[in-house]
């Protein structure tokens, strides 16, 4: 194995160790009333953060491109109580149509 392969193996083991860390937090800490309030708040914050990162960023830059159209299309589908799969397809179609028509990058 060359040097790069060892670094790759090390990075893979580190990634797995980090994932395991969360599972090693004692259950009695996680189950306290304070923690369940924190968990409920964190859930919304994490989901909102993931939406923002996926919709508006490219590396370290904030960008506005076809994905904002995908976000709008998905929200419209959600307002009309569309099934989840329809919401996802609406997002994909909006991005495709905006790029195909040259309205957005």
């Amino acid at each position: 194995m060359n040097e790069l392969s060892w670094w790759i193996l090390g990075a893979c083991l580190t990634a797995y160790a980090i994932k395991l860390c969360g599972f090693f937090v004692p259950r009695r800490v996680l189950d306290s009333p304070a923690m369940s309030h924190v968990a409920a708040t964190l859930t919304i914050a994490l989901l909102s953060s993931l939406v923002t990162v996926n919709a508006f960023t490219s590396g370290q830059e904030l960008v506005i491109d076809a994905r904002i159209g995908a976000l709008a299309a998905a929200i419209i589908a959600l307002v009309f109580k569309a099934p989840y799969l329809v919401v996802v397809v609406a997002g994909a179609l909006a991005a495709i149509l905006l790029r195909a028509s040259g309205l957005a990058a």
Partner: protein, 243 residues
Amino acid sequence: MPATSASWFTPATKMGLSIAIATGLYGISFGALSIAAGLNLWQTVALSALMFTGGSQFAFIGVISGGGAASAAFSAASLLGIRNAVYGMQIKQTLRPLGRQVPWMAQVTIDESTAVSLGQSDPAEKRRGFIAAGAGVYVLWNLFTLVGALLGERMGDPAAWGLDGAAVAAFIGLLWPRLKSVEPIMIAIAAAILTALAVPVTAPGLPILVTAACAAIYAVATGRRAPAATEHGELESIEEEKA
């Protein structure tokens, strides 16, 4: 409702599989870019099978292709993976895995599986969503990494197929059902603004961590205040106002 042979094919399973398709196909990009960055087939396949956290994998090959040292690639990938520890805590708290389930559940604890699980309200659905998204992304991500590595850039950019739009829709679709009162809406807006502010000034992957830390601090602060006002009456809250 009678149990049928397809009773596992619930809304959470469908959500998990839709997000798995949207994300898994991006494996083609990773596979192609990894080979272009100078990694060989085995190194590329190993990153998807063992590291299995997309952001970290792209960071690793990004540093290598930019001429960076392997140690720098290692650091960037590891830094980006830290949010998975926060996800692991959330998953442990909500799914209550048995000790023997932890090794494989930890490996599939990523953005998508955590988001699908947290997006459900029924405990059984949380579990099905986690497994469908986790296993679905794992299988497709690894399969398409191999396809991308073998076919190279001939496959084109998955963004051209609208998959990035599908991913945005998938995440907002999970958040939406939780925005039913003023407080969660305010938290979601604050989290989005905070994430956007953190993006230009921190390494990719860190904005989510910064937002998580702020949300946790906010929750601890408001969690203490709320019971004090109801349990101890007005006197306590007057003293608090003076303080």
